[in-house]
């Protein structure tokens, strides 16, 4: 009875939870993507991790590191000894080394103003998780959007209708054309705009574009495909023990459910004498 009442109260309360507006932060939720490694039975797609590792080494590691991962641990995804040695040598390291970028912190700071963050844990370290990483990689202005921005800025003014047109592209408040104009001016100045970064401008220029790498397995390297693959790779670097965890968890839960049902039966039987 009391549980029912509690549930009642909880549901009533939940119905009244109003929409929250935050005074600060202009972050936009990146849309959810399909990830094969999510859910109780989710596993890493080894081919995707392998392709993602190629992007990580050829693109990301120009600036970023994966300091919790060693080159040789990529072997499990089908890289040969020779390929791994070559990858490591590309960064001036050996296969036993951690996947550290060849770029040192000081020159990174000179070029970008900040030290590029380590990427090992990135899919766990931001709100939105994998969807955020994917959102960032695909959240730069595409060609059509860039053309639209250029067209609007030709006369260096932003009309009300132009602001409305650009608002969904830039994720800014369309009721203030001044705000839209300010964003456009920063884009014009070459600042790195990204739809899904809180604050919309940050130090990283767009790292990927269609055909940026040539996949060893012949997969077409579209922006979406590459973003998906490298995010999958980063989900693995964030928690290489994930599959082990879920596999063990499945066994543990089957055991516990069985064990608890037995305990309940014993409890019923013992208490039958008491009533």
């Amino acid at each position: 009875m009391k549980i029912l009442k509690f549930v009642q109260v909880a549901i009533l309360a939940a119905a009244f939870i109003p929409q929250i507006t935050l005074a600060s932060s202009g972050a936009v939720h990146p849309p959810a993507q399909e990830w094969g490694f999510k859910g109780a039975f989710g596993k890493f797609d080894n081919a995707a991790v392998k392709r993602g590792a190629q992007i990580a080494v050829e693109v990301c590691m120009g600036c970023h590191s994966f300091k919790y991962i060693k080159f040789e641990s990529l072997k499990q995804f089908g890289y040969t000894e020779a390929q791994i040695v070559a990858m490591a040598e590309g960064q001036g390291r050996t296969k036993k080394d951690k996947m550290l970028s060849a770029m040192d912190a000081i020159s990174a700071k000179e070029s970008f103003g900040i030290i590029p963050p380590d990427l090992s844990l990135m899919t766990k370290a931001r709100k939105g998780y994998e969807n955020y990483v994917y959102g960032i990689l695909t959240g730069y202005l595409n060609e059509g959007e860039a053309e639209l921005v250029a067209k609007v800025m030709e006369d260096e003014t932003v009309s009300k209708s132009e602001a409305l047109e650009l608002a969904p592209v830039l994720h800014v408040d369309a009721t203030h054309p001044e705000h839209v104009k300010h964003t456009l001016e920063r884009i014009g100045n070459g600042d790195n705009f990204n739809k899904y970064f809180p604050g919309q401008f940050f130090a990283m220029p767009s790292p990927l574009s269609d055909g940026a790498v040539e996949y060893a397995d012949g997969t077409e390297s579209s922006l979406k495909q590459m973003s998906h693959d490298v995010t999958t790779f980063m989900a693995w670097t964030a928690e290489p023990t994930m599959v082990e965890r879920k596999t063990l968890g499945f066994k543990v839960l089957i055991y516990l459910v069985f064990f608890t049902i037995m305990l309940y039966a014993v409890k019923r039987r013992i208490w039958a004498k008491a009533h």
Partner: protein
């Protein structure tokens, strides 16, 4: 074997103790499942101490290394990920259980005479748990660890006169840093053992006055009203542990980060404040009370801290605020309504504590701070109303059963 036990019992009466305090310990036969949460809390304490002990064997309280060490535990230590996720989610489940345990005591009047000291020890344990939880959250040395520690330790500066010096003494420096991490680790190791000692006293006090029950009436006939603890309550408690383990392990294995803030996977950075600092979920209602006092100018901080600490300390006087001749709210309709308002309000306060202090609801029409102040008033109002309703005999209790 019996010869050996005779020899031991002549010197230390273990058999007697087990018989009178465990196997044959008379327990009210009408205890419902809400009474399982005491043994569940003990179970979680043991899980936390056991997993914590093994984590401590790998951890290093060094500001330069702590974050990497936690990842080392997650990746390189055999089943280190399991230990850490059991421990991190264990804190969450420990608090869920303890909140239900406290609310059960409040609903069935378990704090009433002759159980006041039993109740007080419980409140002390709750305080110690909050301290331990806070200290433990600092150890992974992520962004939320660091900034949570900075925000909470900064409250010490609200202490009049000595506050500024006191916080430097607590930090072991002029900001949260390596020395802070080191001492927090030492204290995080120590406090659970102190909790354990208080749990023993809690059980001693319990066994002196015996369990309350859902009807809140005294045992009239031990023969008819009670059952021996074993096997009746051992098996019932074990069944409860089974149910707990299913839910707990589901989180540990399939959603281990559900209760963790993503920011804590970013290494602590004193130069960069996170956009929104939130404490662990189990502090949120009290955090909301702290922030709701913002209208007293320079006294706001001190008043907020007093309100926050007072929100827990008021539990100490609860036994004397409740003047009803009846213990259990089962027979007290007005108190029961107040209780559910209190619970709903506490959940709302938690939600307010989770949101940034400048957030608004209903398209800016309702600043959350207003809701927070109202919630704080309702929180303390519960205790005032409970006193008024019972001391002035406004509440007419329903007739009590003669026996269990």
């Amino acid at each position: 074997m019996s010869k050996l036990m005779e020899w031991v019992d002549a010197r230390l009466p273990i058999s007697d103790m087990i018989k009178s305090q465990a196997t044959e310990y008379p327990t009210p036969k009408n205890l419902n499942y809400w009474w399982n949460f005491g043994s569940l809390a003990l179970f979680m304490l043991i899980v936390m101490i056991a997993t914590g002990l093994f984590l401590a064997m790998h951890y290093k309280p060094d500001a330069q290394q702590a974050f990497d060490i936690v990842e080392h535990i997650m990746r390189d230590v055999n089943y280190g990920w399991l230990l850490r996720y059991l421990h991190a989610n264990g804190a969450t489940f420990f608090f869920i259980i303890i909140y239900v345990h406290i609310l059960r005591g409040m609903y069935y009047g378990s704090y009433r005479a002759p159980r006041e000291i039993l109740w007080w020890i419980g409140v002390i344990i709750f305080f110690l748990m909050m301290g331990t939880g806070f200290l433990g959250y600092v150890l992974p040395w992520g962004q939320m660890s660091y900034w949570g520690a900075a925000v909470i330790t900064n409250l010490i500066t609200a202490v009049p006169v000595v506050g500024e010096d006191l916080v430097v003494w607590v930090w072991g420096g002029f900001s949260v840093g390596d020395a802070t991490l080191n001492r927090f680790y030492v204290l995080h190791f120590l406090l659970p053992l102190v909790i354990f000692a208080f749990v023993i006293v809690h059980m001693w006090a319990l066994h002196a006055v015996h369990s309350n029950n859902p009807d809140g009436i005294d045992i009239v006939d031990e023969e008819k009203d009670t059952l021996p603890f074993h096997p009746y309550f051992t098996v019932k408690d074990l069944y409860g542990v089974g149910v707990l383990l299913i839910i707990y392990c589901w989180f540990v294995f399939f959603a281990p980060n559900a209760f963790l803030e993503p920011d804590n996977y970013i290494p602590a950075n004193p130069m960069q404040t996170p956009a929104h600092i939130v404490p662990e979920w189990y502090f949120l209602p009290f955090y909301a009370i702290l922030r709701s006092i913002d209208f007293l100018g320079s006294f706001s901080k001190l008043a907020g801290v007093i309100a926050m600490v007072g929100a827990i300390c008021i539990l100490f006087v609860l036994p004397f605020l409740d003047r009803s001749p009846v213990r259990s709210f089962r027979y007290r309709p007005l108190s029961r309504s107040l209780f559910w308002i209190f619970v709903a309000n506490a959940i709302m306060l938690g939600w307010i504590g989770y949101n940034p202090s400048d957030a608004t609801a209903f398209d800016g029409a309702l600043p959350l701070i207003i809701l927070g102040r109202t919630g704080t008033a309702v929180y303390f109002g519960y205790f005032v109303m409970l006193f008024i309703v019972t001391a002035f005999k406004i509440e007419k209790p329903l007739p009590l059963p003669k026996s269990l």
